[in-house]
């Protein structure tokens, strides 16, 4: 097991390097001059474009640019800067915390709500409860985050504050601790809750049909024990897989939620980075995300062995 973990961590090196290059090259390959586009509807003075392009080495070949980037990191600890001259490290330091908070709140909500709903649906399979839960997951799937976000913000943020005078769910900003994250966390978790509910329901139904459950039931174990100890535990594998892979998506894909609730996170930064073609920003954020995926997937893979004793890593 220890050796397995070490091997996986060693593999992370080339993956990270490959990913940085791949993303760097991708941004490089996008058409259009990012500097000229900074002026909006006006035509940027060509002299100025040329000078800024030179400052950012934009006229150099891909490999040379990549070398500037990597050598900056290795020799100077410099992760590059935005077109406005802000260092990427400064830009991301605070935002990463916000994003992590948001993603963890969302993941927790997703896990709790998704598993409970799925469990309930599985146990009430084929009855009204099951149908109602299916219907609500459909609702979560088909309503865009933008709509659910603004509607909840309006009801629980604006309206509730006007009526009660207290701010239960802050409308914007990340300054009020956990409170700031509850509403955006739920909005962000929405679609994932739908996935997890369906996944839990299906896995549990599936597992409950297995031979060992029959055995456990035949042994005369209580229903609670059969479901909790044997059923749920084995049904957990697809759910854990989903949760593990979802952490990264929640971190990198929270653009809309971050925008609606004005949370300074990396999702929006990644979006503007791509929009403005700021290579160091995009590469920096994607590298962090790759790291998150690597670690999350490793943890998930290790949990397989914990959840199912038949799976072993050597």
């Amino acid at each position: 097991m220890g050796r397995y973990i070490i091997r996986r961590l060693i593999q992370a090196g080339p993956v990270l390097l490959g990913a940085t290059f791949f993303i760097f090259a991708t941004v490089f390959a996008l058409p259009g001059d990012p500097v000229a586009a900074l002026a909006g509807d006006k035509r940027q003075d060509p002299n100025i474009v040329a000078i800024i392009r030179e400052q950012y080495h934009l006229d150099d070949p891909l490999l040379v640019q990549y070398w500037y980037y990597i050598s900056g990191i290795v020799f100077h600890g410099d992760f590059g800067k935005t077109f406005a001259g802000v260092p990427v490290t400064q830009l991301l330091a605070g935002k990463l915390q916000v994003t992590l908070n948001l993603a963890l709140v969302a993941l927790t909500m997703e896990a709790i709500i998704g598993v409970l709903l799925g469990l309930w649906a599985a146990l009430r399979r084929g009855r009204a409860t099951d149908t109602a839960i299916l219907a609500s997951t459909l609702l979560l799937i088909s309503i865009p985050t933008l709509v659910s976000g603004f509607v909840l913000q309006l009801w629980l943020g604006v309206w509730l504050k006007r009526v009660t005078g207290t701010e239960f769910f802050p409308i914007s900003g990340a300054t009020q601790g956990l409170k700031s994250y509850l509403l955006p966390g739920f909005v962000l978790a929405g679609v994932s809750i739908a996935y997890l509910t369906r996944l839990t329901r299906t896995s549990l139904v599936e597992t409950l049909r297995s031979d060992y459950i029959r055995t456990a039931t035949a042994k005369g174990l209580s229903r609670r024990r059969v479901i909790g100890r044997h059923g749920l535990r084995n049904a957990l594998i697809p759910m854990v897989t989903y949760l593990g892979a979802d952490l990264g998506s929640l971190m990198g894909g929270a653009v809309i939620t971050e925008t609606i609730f004005n949370l300074p996170g990396i999702g929006f930064q990644l979006y503007t980075g791509v929009y403005l073609r700021e290579q160091p920003v995009v590469v920096g954020i994607v590298t962090i995300l790759v790291l998150v995926y690597i670690v999350a997937n490793l943890v998930v893979d290790l949990m397989y062995a914990v959840l199912d004793p038949r799976i072993r890593y050597e």
Partner: protein, 545 residues
């Protein structure tokens, strides 16, 4: 460039595509937690400034709004849209070529140093020098010596001084232009013309990053702490006690809260979490009118939206009769009312009503006349298919679709609507002849003069360096504008500009579609919020309620 939002907020707009309105529900009564002490800041919505806070590198509205609180411009604009001296004592010229600017005494920088004429010389020379790649450098293009600082791509300027710029003494600044320009005084209120203190420059003669984070100004407010762009969610300011002009009564602290979405900011306004919101989105207007009542303001804004013709690139659009037909087929009024909910007004001139020189109904082909449009289009033998391009990042989709539907229905043509990622991509594709259709275009003024709607967009000289994307050229137009530039007074200049405007109306190189409006709202905690011609709040007048 007042309508131009920072890249960040443009990206936000693109993302939400002008998102959701809020059905206010009426009662705007404050929950009234006793927050009227002088220490609670007045809070205003702002998009993240695109760059660090350096005047000469700020060409978008959000950075300009923040800087306007920190700096005092040479001129302000009065209710008649005329420039009046602010930090300047007098601005005079006999020939419109050599201008003498006297600076008012009493102004000091926030670090205590007095404001001197040399501060302007330093700032403007820095801004104009191509080596410094300042976004607003082109503003100094009319000053004698600008060319020396901008020798062109790959060349280094031989000097760092414009020869037309002199500090005669501590309070006198002399500016020599390359050619007479009657509107020069009007230009001076813009962000780019702010002075810079000695402390702004580093050993290499460039403005330092530290300064960009904590600019020292000579205006009403000073920054409390450096603004860390990308990290900070607000910009906090306090009234500078040695400011010689009018100060606000009853409050001293100002906070700009940074938003990526104006919809969210509107929700915060409704909950009294911010006090001033000066860019309400179209989707919030219906709600704002009822929820805010007389705290909602709607006033003209100097921006214009056009549909441009690729005259230089595509002969199909050569016939002015056909262009007129297209113009008459567009139902501007309904578009302004339904698509924009009144955040735009139908355009009927090439000069905006916010600026002196506008004439209502000047553009006759701008009024909706589907019957005549169809007839004239058929007579001019217009093409059966039209292309209409727009940049998808600015919330333009809906009105472009509406225009396309107008053309389809009224002219009986096929219209292909083509989204481009950014406006610069449209220009690229036009230049490379990959795209040959009509395109949307917007103009936000650099300085409040009618001339600014003419030269930069339609003069022959602007084809290469300016924003004449149509490639329109008419010697008579160029000559008329030049006459206006050389007129002895601004008023006389205006007459010529209106004549030039008439030429545009006749030639119709672009179709004016709408004028921008400025839609703002304030909370129950403030009153007397006035927004000036540059879309900036007059802070000294704001009172706490």
């Amino acid at each position: 460039m007042r309508v131009t939002k920072g890249a960040q907020i443009v990206a936000g707009t693109a993302l939400l595509a002008v998102a959701v309105a809020a059905c206010g529900g009426g009662s705007g009564t404050s929950t009234g937690n006793s927050g009227t002490s002088a220490d609670t800041p007045v809070r205003m919505e702002l998009g993240e400034p695109q760059n660090l806070l350096v005047p000469s590198n700020t060409t978008e509205s959000e950075g300009a709004e923040a800087l306007a609180a920190i700096f005092e411009p040479l001129v302000n604009y009065d209710e008649n849209k005329q420039a009046v001296e602010a930090a300047a004592d007098s601005i005079k010229s006999d020939d419109n070529k050599v201008w003498t600017i006297k600076i008012k005494s009493g102004y000091t920088w926030h670090n205590g140093e007095p404001l001197i004429a040399q501060n302007y010389v330093d700032a403007w020379n820095f801004a104009a020098n191509q080596e410094n790649a300042q976004g607003a450098g082109y503003f100094f293009g009319r000053i004698d010596g600008y060319a020396d600082l901008n020798p062109g791509e790959g060349k280094k300027p031989a000097t760092t001084q414009m020869k037309g710029l002199k500090a005669v003494d501590n309070s006198t600044l002399q500016v020599t232009l390359t050619a007479p320009f009657s509107q020069f005084k009007t230009m001076l209120g813009y962000t780019a013309f702010y002075p810079l203190p000695k402390a702004a420059f580093g050993a290499d003669g460039k403005v330092t990053n530290e300064y960009g984070e904590k600019p020292i100004g000579q205006g009403l407010f000073k920054l409390d702490k450096p603004y860390k762009k990308g990290t900070d969610q607000s910009i906090d300011l306090t009234v500078y006690d040695k400011y010689p002009g009018k100060k606000p009564s009853g409050w001293t602290k100002l906070q700009f809260k940074l938003y990526n979405s104006s919809e969210t900011a509107y929700n915060d306004l409704q909950a009294d979490n911010i006090d001033i919101h000066d860019s309400l989105p179209a989707s919030a207007i219906a709600s704002a009118k009822t929820a805010l009542g007389d705290r909602y303001e709607d006033q003209p804004d100097a921006g214009i939206g056009y549909i441009g013709f690729p005259l230089k690139y595509n002969d199909q659009y050569k016939d002015v009769k056909m262009r007129e037909a297209i113009s008459m087929a567009i139902d501007r009024k309904t578009i302004a009312e339904t698509v924009f909910s009144g955040t735009r007004a139908p355009a009927d001139d090439f000069i905006n009503p916010a600026i002196a020189g506008y004439r209502q109904g000047a553009c006759t082909a701008c009024s909706y006349n589907p019957g005549k449009a169809k007839e004239q289009y058929a007579a001019a033998n217009g093409p059966k298919t039209l292309e209409l391009g727009y940049n998808a990042d600015g919330g333009h989709k809906e009105w472009i679709e509406a225009v396309a539907n107008n053309l389809r229905a009224n002219l009986g043509v096929e219209v292909t609507v083509k989204p481009f990622e950014k406006f610069a991509s449209i220009l690229d594709d036009l230049d490379q002849k990959k795209y040959k259709g009509m395109f949307r275009m917007g103009w936000a003024i650099d300085y409040p003069s009618a001339e600014n709607y003419l030269t930069p967009i339609f003069s022959t000289g602007a084809i290469k360096t300016g924003s004449n994307y149509a490639g329109y050229t008419n010697p008579q137009f160029d000559a008329t504008v030049a006459k206006g530039d050389q007129a002895p007074t601004a008023e006389e200049g205006l007459k010529f500009y209106q004549q030039a405007d008439d030429i545009l109306i006749k030639d119709l190189p672009y179709i004016p579609v709408y004028f921008y409006r400025n839609n703002s709202g304030s909370s129950t905690k403030v009153k007397n919020v006035k927004i000036n011609l540059l879309n900036q709040v007059e802070w000294a007048d704001v009172e706490k309620a």
